[in-house]
């Protein structure tokens, strides 16, 4: 845990806000492969940023690793990142999954989709559904989603702003909120449980949760609940389902810059991508790698190619818009 800043040890210092135990295996694999020692500092995005602020140019941080493009955009805006130079990385990751000035890249994807109980939702209702449809009155009291303070929702709204404009999104949001079956509470898993228990008919959550629940890692009750649910991928007729990312960037004052880039390249390697897919149930960035069977059985889908860096751009407006719409 302790960081030694100036000793000539071959190492890389990673500031991460991901809290998946599976990541520890990734780090170990990297060390095994390259001989580079991995030091971890974990915390929330905001806390890490405060830390970087106070560390200033003396910061020993090399890599920033997190979930959600909104977080990455905030760091990029704050000037804490530097451009990635590696051509390998640029070849592997399409433009829409890279940040401004190539200051960060996606290493995995997740979609924010609609989970529903087929016993209480008819085929016609759910067929070709879009996020925009969720504001319609036939969904009154049937929708659950977590709080607006969560970054995933903020990014979803940001993408709506990017595609529909702020005014339209605000109108949508007000109606959407009026369809909530309950005041937002709990996390994504909680929303899925609510649908399984009949409290609501549809929930908006990230794709990987169903993988975790079905795998049994969360206990028997969750596994049973998850098996009742189906996924509907929104907006298949137009732009595609909202996709967000896990990603990383090189910190501005990185003392081990080469190692930092090596680490990011590693995350995009076949074995790391496979590991991510199999353990955190995310979708890979490398197109030819298959997602985990539990996820794959829900089918392929069209992914929204809105540039994820837009999420960061519209994040402040999204937050205020959600407040105005009464989305707690």
């Amino acid at each position: 845990m302790v960081i030694s800043g100036c000793a000539p040890v071959n190492e890389v210092n990673i500031y991460t806000s991901r809290h998946y135990d599976a990541d520890d295996i990734l780090y170990a694999e990297f060390t095994k492969k390259t001989g580079i020692k991995v030091n971890i500092i974990s915390g929330s995005g905001g806390a890490l940023m405060e830390r970087l602020k106070s560390e200033g140019s003396n910061s020993p941080g090399d890599v920033f690793f997190t979930v959600d493009a909104g977080n990455l955009a905030n760091f990029q805006k704050g000037g804490y990142l530097q451009s990635i130079k590696s051509q390998t990385i640029k070849n592997l990751v399409p433009k829409e999954l890279r940040g401004e000035n190539d200051e960060w890249v996606a290493v995995a994807k997740r979609a924010r989709v609609i989970f529903y109980n087929p016993e209480s939702v008819s085929e016609e209702e759910i067929k070709n559904i879009s996020y925009e449809d969720l504001a319609n009155s036939n969904w009154k009291n049937r929708v659950v989603i977590r709080s607006s303070s969560n970054m995933y929702n903020q990014s979803l709204v940001a993408s709506l702003i990017a595609n529909l404009g702020e005014a339209n999104t605000e109108i949508w949001a007000k109606d959407f909120v009026s369809n909530f079956a309950r005041t937002p509470q709990g996390n994504d898993r909680s929303q899925l449980m609510a649908v399984a228990n009949g409290l609501a008919d549809i929930a908006i959550a990230n794709t990987y949760y169903i993988g975790i629940m079905l795998s049994g890692k969360g206990g028997e009750e969750q596994k049973v609940a998850a098996s009742k649910l189906k996924i509907a991928f929104p907006n298949q007729e137009n732009r595609g389902a909202h996709v967000n990312i896990s990603g990383g960037g090189i910190l501005k004052h990185s003392p081990n810059r080469d190692n930092a880039e090596k680490f990011l390249e590693f995350l995009l390697s076949e074995e790391a991508q496979k590991h991510i897919v199999n353990n955190t149930f995310e979708y890979p960035v490398l197109e030819y790698i298959d997602p985990h069977p539990l996820i794959a059985e829900f089918g392929t889908f069209k992914m929204d190619k809105t540039s994820v860096s837009d999420f960061g751009k519209y994040n402040p407006s999204a937050v205020k818009l959600m407040d105005r719409a009464g989305w707690k």
Partner: protein, 536 residues
């Protein structure tokens, strides 16, 4: 002739500590001069009203409920004899061992759609399959949770006040011509009213300070707003401005509480509890009284503890590495904070004693106000302080330790009042004549402190140590923010697990916290059960 300007070491130390304690708050108030940006305008327009309204209703609702529960139970156990009364007297303070956020987590799990309560009702066929008890994650639910865990403050203070009203006192009033009702309003009420109000004010401050419970209930209040603005919007300045508003409100409540406490002028000098004559309740009344006392204890302590034990035993892997390292961290922090706090209280009280100047006492009183400041706000102020210090120190690797120091600093500020109270009352029992003798026998001040006072204050110091430990173990918001990375405490574990709806895994650490929370219960129960001995 001019006197030489001479301050002793002790006075300088006391003054420095006082100044140091004030800094975090000052930094926060300083934010009011930084100008209000977009985010603040947004908050002001859209959510500030809601934060204020929720906080307001929460405090009002909780205050009413705790007065109802606390005063009636205190009245019952002090003036009447009924089934189980001897147990109820001390058992009524048990809910204090459970911090509000843990009770919130437990109640949520129990009263959720697929929780114990609904399952029970359904299995007993009392309700249909679709039925569910009203959602507990609401303002009403929060009021109930806070009331069950905080009423003991009002109970305790009211009980002590009631104990000072002896029957002979009331008899005199009757003989002087007052009816029973008049006696209540002219004798009893004036004596217990300040106590009730002081206790309620304390409850109000605890409620306004809470972060864990209201966040879990998704109730937008000041604390959640501050947290969200800082860590969600990355805007520390606006968060501090919000914090200033909350501080202002708390200040008002604090002064109200102190004012009420100063009005408590009853002399409870050596009342043997047997001398409190109580009326025996018979038959149905006895059962009713017992029931009324039983219910708060049942919901505030028995049910949560049983549920937690059930959950903890339902899964394996409780004694994992996480738990061990968190326990170690928790106890390490708690012991360190307890030592430092007790040490400072000792020195400051020593200083006040030997200099007997108004200023020494006032410094002590000023620092004691730290308990009223919400942990969340302290943490923000200290973060800002650390940022300034770090800037000066560069990155000398002290960043990690700096954070720990900041956390301990927060703990010390928060628990100083507790420690001070205990050590101060212990000190009062040591006659100043002893000081005089020691000094004429040649002791300088240092020798007086270490050779004479220290051994005589052993009880007070130990009590102070234990009480601070239990305070620190329960603390959540400041720890969440100030802890160094990869350094979790038990409270943090419970918070993180509960946020992910993993209550079963949170049960064991939660029980550990409650266990340590029983320590102050032990001391408090002595206060209300036994008499204070009359000096021979």
């Amino acid at each position: 002739m001019k006197k030489l300007f001479k301050l002793s070491f002790w006075e300088i130390f006391a003054a420095s500590i006082t100044a140091l304690f004030a800094i975090p708050i000052l930094l926060i108030l300083l934010s009011l001069f930084s100008g209000f940006n977009d985010n603040f305008a947004h908050i002001y327009d859209v959510v500030l009203y809601e934060y204020s309204l929720n906080s307001f209703y929460l405090v009002i609702g909780v205050s009413i409920l705790v007065i109802f529960i606390g005063v009636i139970t205190a009245w019952l156990v002090t003036n009447y004899d009924f089934i189980g009364k001897k147990i109820f007297v001390w058992a009524l303070i048990l809910p204090l061992a459970i911090p509000p956020y843990i009770l919130a987590y437990v109640f949520t799990e129990i009263f959720d759609y697929s929780g114990t309560a609904n399952n029970l009702l359904r299995s007993l066929n009392l309700v249909s399959e679709d039925y569910a008890l009203p959602n507990i994650r609401t303002l009403t639910g929060a009021i109930i949770v806070f009331s069950f865990t905080l009423y003991p403050y009002v109970y305790l203070i009211t009980r002590v006040a009631l104990m000072s009203i002896l029957k002979p006192m009331l008899d005199s009033a009757r003989v002087l011509g007052l009816s029973k009702l008049q006696t209540f309003f002219k004798v009893t009420l004036p004596i217990i009213r300040p106590a009730i109000l002081a206790g309620t004010a304390l409850v109000a401050m605890e409620t306004l300070s809470d972060f864990g419970a209201v966040q879990h209930f998704a109730l937008p209040t000041f604390t959640t707003g501050i947290f969200r603005t800082w860590l969600g919007m990355y805007d520390l300045t606006t968060a501090m401005q919000l914090a200033s508003i909350l501080l202002f409100v708390i200040c008002i409540v604090l002064y109200f509480e102190r004012y009420q406490r100063s009005k408590q002028r009853y002399s409870a000098a050596g009342v043997k509890s047997e001398k409190l004559i109580s009326t025996k309740l018979k038959g149905i009344y006895s059962y009713l009284a017992a029931l009324f006392c039983f219910l708060p204890i049942f919901f505030g302590f028995v049910v949560p503890v049983i549920e937690l034990i059930t959950w903890a035993t339902a899964i394996d892997n409780t004694f994992n590495n996480d738990f061990i390292s968190s326990s170690f961290n928790t106890l390490f922090l708690a012991f360190l904070a307890a030592l430092i706090t007790s040490g400072i209280a000792l020195i400051l009280n020593f200083n006040a004693r030997i200099h007997a100047k108004r200023s020494s006492e006032e410094m002590n009183n000023f620092i004691s106000m730290g308990y009223a400041v919400p942990g969340l706000i302290l943490a923000i102020g200290i973060t800002q302080l650390l940022t300034y210090i770090d800037y000066i120190l560069f990155n000398t690797g002290l960043i990690i330790t700096g954070s720990l120091i900041g956390l301990i600093f927060a703990y010390v500020i928060k628990s100083y009042a507790l420690s001070n109270n205990v050590i101060q009352s212990n000190y009062k029992q040591v006659s100043t004549d002893i000081d005089d003798s020691a000094r004429t026998l040649g002791s300088n001040k240092r020798k007086l402190l270490f050779d004479i006072h220290l051994p005589l204050l052993k009880t007070g110091l130990l009590t102070s140590f234990l009480l601070v430990v239990s305070e620190v173990v329960k603390e959540l918001p400041a720890t969440l923010i100030l802890r160094p990375f990869n350094f979790d405490t038990l409270a943090v574990n419970v918070y993180l697990l509960a946020s992910e709806e993993r209550m079963y895994e949170a049960a064991f650490p939660a029980l550990f916290i409650i266990l340590i929370g029983l320590i102050p219960i032990y001391f408090l129960s002595k206060m209300i059960d036994h008499s204070r001995t009359i000096d021979e």
